[in-house]
Symmetry: C3
């Protein structure tokens, strides 16, 4: 059994690349998590988890890192792509929060406002009081082949 993480970082990145997977890999490097092994999960903030800055924590190279993320790629020049992630922090810090992710062929303001509303809906459905939403996102205008990425990385301290 794996311990429950107790910190989170919000990160974002975007990049061109020669293939879709290279563009994604480059976006991960741009976000500061490119030399780790990301393990995607459905998307709950553990109770009391604290926010940290990615540059301040020590993710082991090649380590297995749980996270929730939004990502989209495109090979249509001139098109905008955007990814955003939002974390809802509950009033009662003994309760878990909710992480929502959204991505689209669209400008970021649209994508980020949707992902923030998704957090509000998730708290309403849980009948849980929401203290604050933290969100982050990134948009990119495609040149040839590009990817955007926004994530909530969970880790330990």
């Amino acid at each position: 059994m794996v311990n429950t993480p107790n910190i989170f970082c919000l990160v974002k990145g975007a990049s061109e690349g020669h293939t879709r997977l290279n563009a994604f890999d480059n976006a991960l490097l741009n976000a500061g998590v490119g030399d780790t092994n990301l393990m995607r999960m459905s998307s709950i903030l553990p109770p009391g988890a604290k926010q940290r800055v990615i540059g301040d924590i020590n993710l082991p190279a090649g380590g297995l890192i749980p996270l929730a993320y939004a990502s989209i790629d495109s090979t249509t020049p001139g098109r905008y792509i955007s990814s955003a992630i939002a974390v809802g922090i509950p009033e009662d810090d003994a309760k878990p929060g909710v992480i929502m992710e959204f991505e689209d062929h669209s400008r970021l303001d649209n994508v980020e406002s949707i992902v923030r509303q998704m957090v509000i809906d998730a708290f309403e459905y849980r009948k849980r009081k929401l203290k604050e939403i933290k969100s982050i996102g990134i948009e990119h205008k495609v040149e040839n082949c590009a990817s955007t990425f926004a994530a909530a990385v969970l880790w330990y301290e």
Copy 2:
């Protein structure tokens, strides 16, 4: 290295939501696993794993929970969507079992009979004797935007 789980729970849920991801999140809550971090895996029942009821085990809030699942969403009002999961238990409880998942735009009886046959096929291909199949599933008639979810959650006791 993570220890191999030794218990499993079969769960199911369905819900409407304002977005596809909210509908999925609500279906997870409906299934009793909505405040955890689900980590999807390919789908083997560890040897000798015992079945438990989800309400009787203690999944940590925000904890990292391995599982196999079927899920489908739809935004077409009036359409049926179904998800089902089946676990094949071997005669020799020193051998692993097999978990199969299936989902479709269809009624549940069809989806569940397919997923049960998939388990039979998986045992035949392994030339392993099958003692019993346990399956669970759920169907939902879409109102606006809905998701169904059926899973075998693995955990520890």
Copy 3:
């Protein structure tokens, strides 16, 4: 927190099956990893990880195994499908390597040459010196319903 793996195995498999998931399950068995719980990750080789042969390591039945993989299935008789994986080993073995995966409706020589180039691009983008690329792949001509699979499995010794 999960320890960072220190060995890797390259594996491949292909199979027909009655459903797409059964074909995938059979391909996993063919590759020697079919009775484990595979957890997909984005795809970095931990620093100094050593290559092993899958038959020489002991993966626990039903155990949770991290890996990066390529996979594709098809139900179009006569069509070729191919999956390939490539691992770039850095000159400096204190640095992480990169794992790339690619799959297509195509012959293997094409797919494997693309995935090897993806590793070269990933090292160039990192400005990291590449010592060697190890790759593996498999092609299959579809009879009815088939899957191909190529992976870098990470584990411990």
